[in-house]
Symmetry: C2
Subunit: 243 residues, 2 copies
């Protein structure tokens, strides 16, 4: 690809990546939202997803650490507050722990990540490292999966409340909150990418960054499916649901 | 050194590093605060020091990027707000730019850092890299020069207001604000270091981290002295005061 894309065409291709590769398409999510999981499988999902949630502020700090422009830093730092909390808001990680609490998972065990799948941890750390090491433009582009998140969150809230009696309104507070936060954040990131990916090379890099991020999310569900659905090979040391 | 120091003894040695190596001892600062500088030299100081100021949020973000504990991140992030500003507060970097404005330096020129001394930039980036690369304990210990900062700020406010008619109360707003912020921050960091440097190796590393940081500050004044005081060799491309 050597042509220069217009910002609109670039955006179209970014959104197409979401249509083809976002993890809402993964069989694990279809089962989860469709009420096909048992309690232990939902536990395994929440426990593993905590690894991702809790790494997000480090990822965002890694980005801020390379931003030379104060205005950009001031914009981006709100994401850390969204997850870690600030002032009276306890933040998204705490809301996630409310979910794992509600699923009868021991909080120190969740936080320790000792029961999480190694493949989850590898994928998550690959994401943090990507943001550390790549140029700002690519690091920001990798956040654009948030463009596709509101659909999955809305689907998840409805699907899980409908299908599982152990899922209450309080437990899905994390996703409700993200319905407001993610669109605000991703529009900023999208604008940044549209304006700053100005060469064919940068545009390819930006598309690849988003693909990479969809891989990070997808790989986590592959690992969950393999360990807890089919064939159900739980690696040594990983969480084992009571049956 | 193989003995384990008590936390009090460790603190004593940390403070001793300040007494012996902090940059308030540098001849450049003695001249600056004692009214011995001309206008161009004060300009050169403020212009170069901007490089340091503006890198501090990146340094703090680099630290947050490795903090696994949410509570620690929530504590440390206030430092980024102190410098970048948050909500209605414009932050310390903006206050520093008020100083350079008041010294008739063109703001885009200051921000571009093109007139700063290469040695300044090298020293500052060495600090940011140190925090990136070293363990959290050492990264936090390197912030402990703030233990010694209130004295220099108080001295600077008084000395500069007394000796220079071009320095007004508004221009020293940065230092006044730091008189409140720095003690709060450094007490947290000191407590962390006292509690977490528990082996002789960690204690040596912590002392070396603080020495490293005093070197970072000292080297900036050496470069200023060399270029703008004696022998006065201004490197190619660096700021040249009008005479």
């Amino acid at each position: 690809m050597t042509e220069i894309l217009s910002p609109d065409e670039l955006e179209r291709r970014l959104r197409k990546i979401g249509e083809e590769r976002y993890h809402n398409l993964h069989p694990f999510h279809r089962m989860l939202h469709g009420g096909k999981m048992n309690f232990g499988q939902v536990q395994a999902w929440a426990l593993n997803r905590y690894v991702y949630q809790s790494a997000i502020p480090r990822k965002d700090a890694a980005l801020i650490a390379k931003l030379q422009e104060r205005e950009l830093r001031r914009e981006w730092i709100r994401r850390i507050h969204d997850h870690d909390g600030y002032g009276n808001d306890d933040g998204g990680i705490e809301r996630w722990l409310k979910l794992t609490d509600g699923l009868n998972l021991d909080r120190p065990y969740v936080i320790s990540q000792t029961g999480a799948l190694p493949a989850t941890k590898f994928a998550v750390e690959a994401y943090v490292r990507f943001v550390y090491e790549r140029p700002t433009l690519e690091a920001i582009a990798s956040s654009l999966t948030e463009l596709f998140a509101p659909t999955i969150h809305a689907e998840r809230i409805a699907g899980m409340l409908e299908h599982y009696d152990f899922i209450t309104d309080e437990l899905v507070a994390y996703f409700r909150k993200r319905l407001d936060q993610a669109p605000r954040d991703c529009l900023f990131a999208l604008k940044f990418v549209r304006e700053n990916a100005r060469t064919p090379e940068q545009q390819v890099a930006v598309l690849n960054a988003l693909k990479f991020k969809t891989d990070v999310l997808w790989a986590q569900l592959d690992a969950l499916y393999f360990a807890y659905v089919d064939p159900g090979f739980i690696p040594p040391g990983a969480f084992r649901p009571r049956t």
